[in-house]
Amino acid sequence: MDGEELPQVTPSLLRRADDLCRRRLAHELRGGKRHANRSSDMRFAVSNRIEADARLAQSTPGAPEPRAFVEPEELPPEQRALYRAAARGYLAEFGASPARVVDLGWRTPLAALGVELVATIGIAAELDGGERELRKLIVGGRRGGRPMSDAVDERVALLRTEQWAPHNLRIVTVDVIEHRSSVTTPEVEPARAEAHEWMSARVATLLELASDARPRAGADCQGCAFVSGCSAHSG
C-alpha cells in the first residue's frame, strides 16, 4: 500500500473481481500505480475533456453556456470530430436544463469498511428546484443492446452522493454520440441502505480474493500495470 492510503475499490473491480487475476486484483486494490508500468491516457482524452467543459459550461446557475465547449486543437482530427459530436450531443440533451454543477471529486472514503470508493460517477448538477441530478456521459462505442448502466453503477452513485443528495437523486445516463439515454430515480433511502449492505459484502469478497494474490496469465495481462515482478511472466 502507498503510505497510509486505504484500499481503492472501483466499479470495475466490483464487477470483475471474481474472474480477475488475483495478483492484479491485489495490486489494483492497493492503488500502487506510482510503482507500476506507465499506461497511456489518450483513449480518455475526449471523454475527460467533454466532461470538464460541461462542468465549466454550468459552473454558475443557468443553462449550459455553449461557448464553454472549445474544440481542443491539440487533439488529432478524429478526436476533434468526436469532441464536436459529443459537445452537440451534450447540449441537445441538457442545453435547456438550468442548473449549477458542483464538484464531487473522484473518491469517497467508506470508513466503516476501511476502503475508499474511487469512481467518476458523472456530472453533479443542482437543478433550479433543488433536485439533484447526476449526468453520466458515454462517448459512443457501446454495442447495441448493452445496457447504459447497471446495478453497480447505481449503487456506487448512491454511495458517492450520500452527502450531496441525501433525499432525492435522478441519474441520467446519456450516450452523447448515439443519442441514447436512460433515467433512473431510485427511492433514495431504501436503495442506499441496500447499496451499503451490498458494498459491505462485496468489499469482504474482494479483500478475501486479493489475499490469495496468485498470478494467472491470460486476458487480464493486457493493460496490467503490474507486469514487473510477476512470476507468470518471469521466463
Binding site: S40, M42, F44, L82
Partner: protein, 261 residues
C-alpha cells in the same frame, strides 16, 4: 502526437490490433490508441458470436458429434435455426474431439516479450484448443469471408501463434493453428499452420519490430488506399481516408471543411 502519450510502457498486442496495424497504422491509431468509436458501419458479427457461443456450450456439456445433445443445446437457447445447425454440422466434420486427450474453449493466453526492447504483452482468446496425436491443435472459428490460402499469411494468426507457443512447448507438443470456416460459402479452410520453434522466434522478432515501428511513428499515416479505406470503420472521419463517406454518428460535423478545421 508523442508516442509516450499513446503507448503504454508495455504495448498490448492482440490479434485484432496487430491485424489493424498491418492493414493501416491509422486504423490502430484511431481505434485502439485514441479510443474513437467507429464512425462508419461494419458488417454485423451477431451470427459469428452466436455460433461461437453455441459451440462453446455444446463442447463444455457434451459432444458436437451427438446430434441429440446439439439439438438440446440449440433449442435450450432458442437458436435452433437451419443456419446455426449447418454451421455446427460443418464444424463437427472437422472437430478432433473424439481423438483428443484434453481441450479448452474460449481460453485466454498471454505472453510477455521483455527483451530486446521494446517490451510488449501479447494476448489472444483462442476459440478451441485440442490435444491429440502430439499436437496442440488450436482452432479459430470463422463465419466471414476467406481472404487467404494459408493461415501463416494472416497477421492475427502470428499473435495467436506467439501466445500459444509457450503452452505447446511446456507440454512437449507441436503447435498447429487452424482457421475453421463454418459457413457453406467457403468450401475449404486455409492451409493450417504448423509452427516450430524457429518460426516462433521469427514471429517474436516480427512482432517486436512492429512495436518498435509504433514507437518510432509520430504521424501514424494511413495507407490512403481506396480498396482498404472503402470498408474501414473510420473512413468518413479519418484524416487520410481515400474513401470518405457519410458517418453513422447521428450528430457530426457539417462538412469535410469542418473536420479539417
Amino acid at each position: 502526437m508523442a508516442a509516450s502519450r499513446l503507448l503504454p510502457d508495455i504495448v498490448s498486442v492482440t490479434p485484432s490490433a496487430y491485424e489493424d496495424f498491418t492493414r493501416c497504422p491509422r486504423l490502430l491509431y484511431c481505434g485502439t490508441l485514441l479510443g474513437v468509436p467507429a464512425s462508419d458501419p461494419a458488417p454485423s458479427s451477431d451470427h459469428g458470436l452466436l455460433v461461437h457461443d453455441m459451440l462453446w456450450k455444446i463442447h463444455t456439456s457434451g459432444s458436437c458429434h451427438d446430434d441429440a445433445h446439439v439439438a438440446d443445446v440449440l433449442a435450450a437457447h432458442g437458436f435452433d435455426t437451419a443456419s446455426v445447425r449447418d454451421s455446427i454440422a460443418r464444424h463437427a466434420r472437422r472437430c478432433p474431439s473424439q481423438a483428443a486427450q484434453g481441450h479448452a474453449h474460449e481460453h485466454d493466453f498471454a505472453r510477455f516479450h521483455r527483451a530486446p526492447a521494446p517490451m510488449f504483452m501479447a494476448t489472444a482468446r483462442i476459440d478451441a484448443v485440442w490435444v491429440h496425436d502430439g499436437l496442440l491443435d488450436a482452432r479459430d472459428y470463422k463465419t466471414g469471408r476467406r481472404f487467404t490460402e494459408r493461415v501463416a499469411d494472416i497477421a492475427a494468426a502470428h499473435v495467436q501463434a506467439f501466445t500459444l507457443g509457450n503452452a505447446a512447448r511446456a507440454r512437449g507438443l507441436r503447435l498447429r493453428l487452424r482457421y475453421e470456416y463454418l459457413q457453406a460459402e467457403v468450401d475449404e479452410d486455409p492451409e493450417p499452420w504448423e509452427v516450430d520453434d524457429d518460426t516462433l522466434a521469427d514471429v517474436e522478432e516480427e512482432l517486436r519490430a512492429a512495436v518498435a515501428r509504433m514507437w518510432e511513428g509520430d504521424d501514424w499515416r494511413g495507407v490512403a488506399d481506396a480498396d482498404v479505406c472503402r470498408t474501414c470503420r473510420y473512413r468518413s472521419i479519418c484524416r487520410d481516408s481515400a474513401a470518405p463517406g457519410e458517418p453513422s454518428w447521428p450528430v457530426l460535423m457539417e462538412s469535410r471543411d469542418d473536420l479539417d478545421r
